[in-house]
Symmetry: C2
Subunit: 621 residues, 2 copies
């Protein structure tokens, strides 16, 4: 069987709500919509950004920069001043980037050549800049102020946004006050948010940032929020372990209500609930974040308890929609989450209104394009000196890599350069004891250092030279300069380091970083940081002229997984192994058979639900 037939046999489900279940063309005439969404600027951009004078000027400029060292650039006070910005309470220092004010000027030329300002405006205007899916990109609307006007197809979306937010507020108050009761009459204190990808990483990032913040801690006292993302049954065991179903509510988060992992997990959790609380308990213990009210109802969830979002919110940009705000409001209360939305909104206004030269996401985005496309650094480390930001890097990993990991530009032309980057990170100081060795003496990896002025938690011991937070922050300041300056062989010789050790103990320095200083880590500043990174990613994508808002790359794996699923099911039912006519290559056939022969038969002659025993301990019925 030809491989293409294998692919065609599969079904596609998409976490991000692509409504097209299989690769058959849309019946409506898309060509009209496509021309509508391809604005005149796109037509002008049909030549690659890499062919523009501005791009070439930057390429030529690389040689000048290669002759500089940060230790010299940092001695220029005027440059240091020009390359630090302060706005909205945030302080951001770009002076340790391998760039001069001339580089910035040239990057601004590139921004103009890429029509950056027009693209930003088009995004806020509701143009269907996500042209391959014919959608607007309006995650900024999910945190807009009530009085703002943000339109898709000429219709203001903000009232609908607030319609959902108001319902979330009312619902979360009911649940938190105990007015809403579970099937056995108890109030709900545990929330299990079932979702994957964009329905998981953003909410997890925000939850991790808030759970040690004093105001949010007060609001969440006695309450538990867990996330169930992976379809691995181990994740089910972990997520439900120790929870009393009588006091637990599950929030099922999937726009289409067809995401494979999420729906299997939802059915698993439903089974866990009903086996202990009865079939009728679903309505009291499960709610949904979805637009597919039909499937929600068929699942057994009251459509009244379905909270929607819209096609113009991409999954990885959805944490400010019901996707994040519902579970997080149940945990922290709506008031805290409003602060989070406000912070993101403040950054949105900044991004839209501020001239490019002082625009923080624009500067971050342009400098990262400089690092990636001109200095040739393919990776970026996100290094928050704050344990509460430990889930920032995994979230931005998705936002950045899923947005910009593209092989063609927005018009479908194969890119003559590599877009996107490889993002990773761990909180400081942990990373210093892990991978910083490589960043100091191996490959060059530009770093984003994030520091906090006032910690969420204070520890200060009277005999210590500094508080624990000060101890943490010493490193935030020191690492950026260590990377920038390095340590020369001359310095080591002057310290009488033995000759044979000198090469090993030398540091080339000249390694770029950006330092971002937040006044505190509150719901508000978490919102600011989120939007800062979202918009940085958009800037990169606009400059590279790619579509940062689709994700066709996730489709192929799903199609093939479907074929494997059928094979495994057949194999179990027909007690046979995979053979050469099943359409898998020889390696995969062997690998599949190793798997199939290693697994015991189902132990139960009659079909029945099988659960880890520890999850059924409560069983009050």
């Amino acid at each position: 069987m030809a491989f293409s037939q294998l692919q065609a046999a599969g079904k596609q489900t998409s976490e991000n709500g692509n409504s097209n279940p299989n690769p058959i063309p849309l019946t409506r005439d898309v060509s009209v919509n496509v021309s509508r969404s391809l604005s005149s600027m796109d037509k002008a951009m049909e030549t690659s950004i890499a062919s523009t004078d501005a791009w070439r000027a930057l390429q030529e400029h690389v040689a000048e920069i290669e002759n500089t060292h940060l230790k010299d650039l940092l001695a220029d006070q005027g440059r240091c001043e020009a390359m630090s910005k302060e706005d909205m309470g945030l302080y951001i220092d770009f002076s340790r980037q391998r760039a001069t004010q001339d580089t910035i000027k040239k990057l601004m030329d590139l921004a103009r050549a890429a029509n950056l300002k027009e693209k930003i405006d088009a995004m806020y205007a509701g143009d269907h800049i996500n042209s391959t899916e014919d959608r607007a990109v309006l995650h900024v609307a999910t945190r807009a102020r009530r009085e703002q006007v943000i339109c898709d197809d000429g219709k203001n979306q903000v009232p609908e946004v607030w319609g959902v937010l108001d319902r979330i507020k009312a619902f979360s108050e009911k649940v938190r006050s105990g007015e809403w009761k579970g099937a056995t009459g108890k109030p709900i204190k545990n929330i299990v948010a079932i979702g994957i990808g964009g329905s998981f990483l953003g909410p997890l990032f925000v939850h991790t940032a808030l759970r040690t913040e004093p105001k949010a801690m007060m609001q969440s006292r006695g309450r538990t929020l867990r996330f169930l993302a992976n379809v691995d049954p181990i994740d089910v065991a972990r997520a439900l372990n120790g929870l009393d179903p009588e006091e637990t509510m599950a929030v099922v988060i999937s726009k289409t209500f067809t995401t494979a992992e999420t729906m299997l997990n939802a059915r698993t959790v439903r089974s866990w609930l009903t086996s202990q609380l009865g079939e009728e308990s679903v309505a009291q213990h499960m709610v949904a974040v979805s637009t597919n009210l039909k499937l929600v109802k068929e699942f057994g969830i009251d459509p009244e308890n379905a909270f929607g979002f819209w096609d113009w919110v991409g999954g990885r940009y959805s944490v400010c929609s019901a996707v994040g705000i519902l579970p997080l409001s149940l945990q922290y209360g709506f008031e805290v989450m409003e602060q989070f939305l406000s912070g993101a909104n403040a950054m949105d206004d900044h991004f839209r209104e501020t001239p490019l030269e002082s625009n923080l996401p624009v500067l971050m985005g342009l400098l990262s394009v400089w690092n990636i496309s001109f200095l040739g650094y393919p990776a970026r480390a996100i290094l928050p000196y704050c344990q509460a930001l430990s889930k920032l890097a995994p979230h931005i990993q998705q936002v950045s890599m899923e947005s910009n990991g593209k092989g063609v530009d927005i018009n479908g032309n194969v890119l003559p350069f590599e877009a996107g980057e490889i993002d990773f990170g761990e909180p400081g100081t942990n990373g210093q004891h892990s991978f910083y060795q490589l960043i100091h003496q191996g490959r060059v990896v530009p770093c984003d250092f994030i520091g906090i002025v006032r910690s969420q938690q204070s520890v200060y011991l009277k005999d210590e030279i500094v508080s624990n937070h000060d101890e943490l922050m010493c490193n935030f300041f020191a690492q950026a300069d260590a990377l920038a300056y390095g340590k020369s062989r001359e310095e080591l010789r002057s310290q009488n380091v033995p000759d044979y050790l000198i090469p090993h103990r030398s540091f080339t320095g000249n390694r770029p970083s950006t330092s971002l200083l937040l006044p505190e880590l509150s719901a508000y500043t978490v919102g600011q940081v989120l939007a800062l990174y979202e918009h940085q990613v958009a800037v990169q994508g606009f400059v590279w002229n790619i579509n940062s808002f689709d994700q066709w790359g996730v489709e192929l794996g799903k199609v093939l997984a479907s074929r494997v699923r059928q094979m495994i099911n057949q194999s179990r039912n027909k007690h046979r192994f995979v053979n050469n006519s099943d359409g898998f290559n020889y390696s995969t056939t062997r690998l599949l058979n190793k798997y199939l022969q290693g697994k015991t038969q189902l132990l139960y002659p009659e079909p029945r639900d099988v659960f880890p025993a520890e999850l059924l301990e409560h069983n009050p019925l």
Copy 2:
């Protein structure tokens, strides 16, 4: 002040036990030791590996491989068979690497040119292959069988290793049985392991792998193990939250007992204990993993309760020593941990004895050198399809990046190529909804897929087509082939995909991966996987001829942090800001002052310990 003076003013403390506190030469004559550790093979390697015929042959071979596509290579059944290996119950499939059997042959030539076998033998023989620190590299001894002989400087280390393991066994049994009581007479059920870097990530990886494993779960019922790594006070708050100090024991893990973060955290936890249980409680509630018995005793811990390790165990290779085995035995019992050690030991024997052509770590290491140094792929994704392996990637990130992120070879010559790689990863299927978009359609990132035949936990719902674990594993099989085959424009056209979408929905394929299938995830197989990756990293380092076992790159940041610490302390005590004569550059001066002016003064006129209030709830006295 010259920057070098700033550096000299600082003190170095090292997580990994470098005994040298400041950059002054050792007083003893190191040249003798150095020549002893530079064996004849190193002298022969004074020319770079990149100058050898074997390296050049591989460089030339790249062009041949560039003309191939995995979809064709995978059609060659003989190749598929040759490039899959099975040993020790593990199944590993290399056939989706962009390599032919000729490539493997040329890689074996490179291995011989690099004296790989001799270097492996030298490691097991206890030669001081860590030449810059004049140390042997014998983490294999930490999991050796009792009767094995593994020598450093001619002295068998295995009896000492088992001396410590036997003490750990006895001690953990005492604590777990309740024979050991806390200061108020209660048994200990919570363990807080205080350590960072190698004293954290390895143990966390193993703990995460075991905590959902049924046998280990039974052994750890009612017990809690937490890790406190970051000096961020937020991590203290998280680690101690909800713990009753009467039932809690802290294990302080630092070879020198001077690691800044660990010791500050240890003093913090000591204060938490004594403020609630009295000064005398330290002996009942704190133990140490360290070789510095003097400082252990000064801290207030009974040296009887200090468990040692040795200079020939590097931090990132130390999980099989007391560093991991003590806290993990307290949680899971020594018997489970013996299984873990056995698994690692089995892989050690395999690594030492198996001919290169069938040697799993050798094949993995050579293929990754092929990917990094010849095909030019700087990153590697570690993608375990198992939620219990969610901490594998962070641990290997340290093992790999701290070992091989070097700029010079073992003789101090600047490398003419980039060693090391950028490692990252998330468990599947989560990663599919995050960064796989980039891996499918953006940059090429070689992937390690890890799958499990029998899951630790079973969930199977009677109306489902497959079990939850099968659903997970469908993706494990599908993703590797999706990356390898891609999807062509012709295929899309034949499926009537609209023209404008075809470029966006095309997949170039030809993206390499390795698939590793474990029979189950048990303590034993966790040990096997750990050692497999440790030895892969060593193979890479041996081929590149670098010292994978030192980490001088972590020093500079510590020196500078020390200077900042002094500055912050001065600033608080003398109520002044940083000025131009303090020796920091203009940008750092401004950044520091933003920090200093933003922080409130200490609120307490008298020095006293300050703690998050929630951590002092128990206060039974």
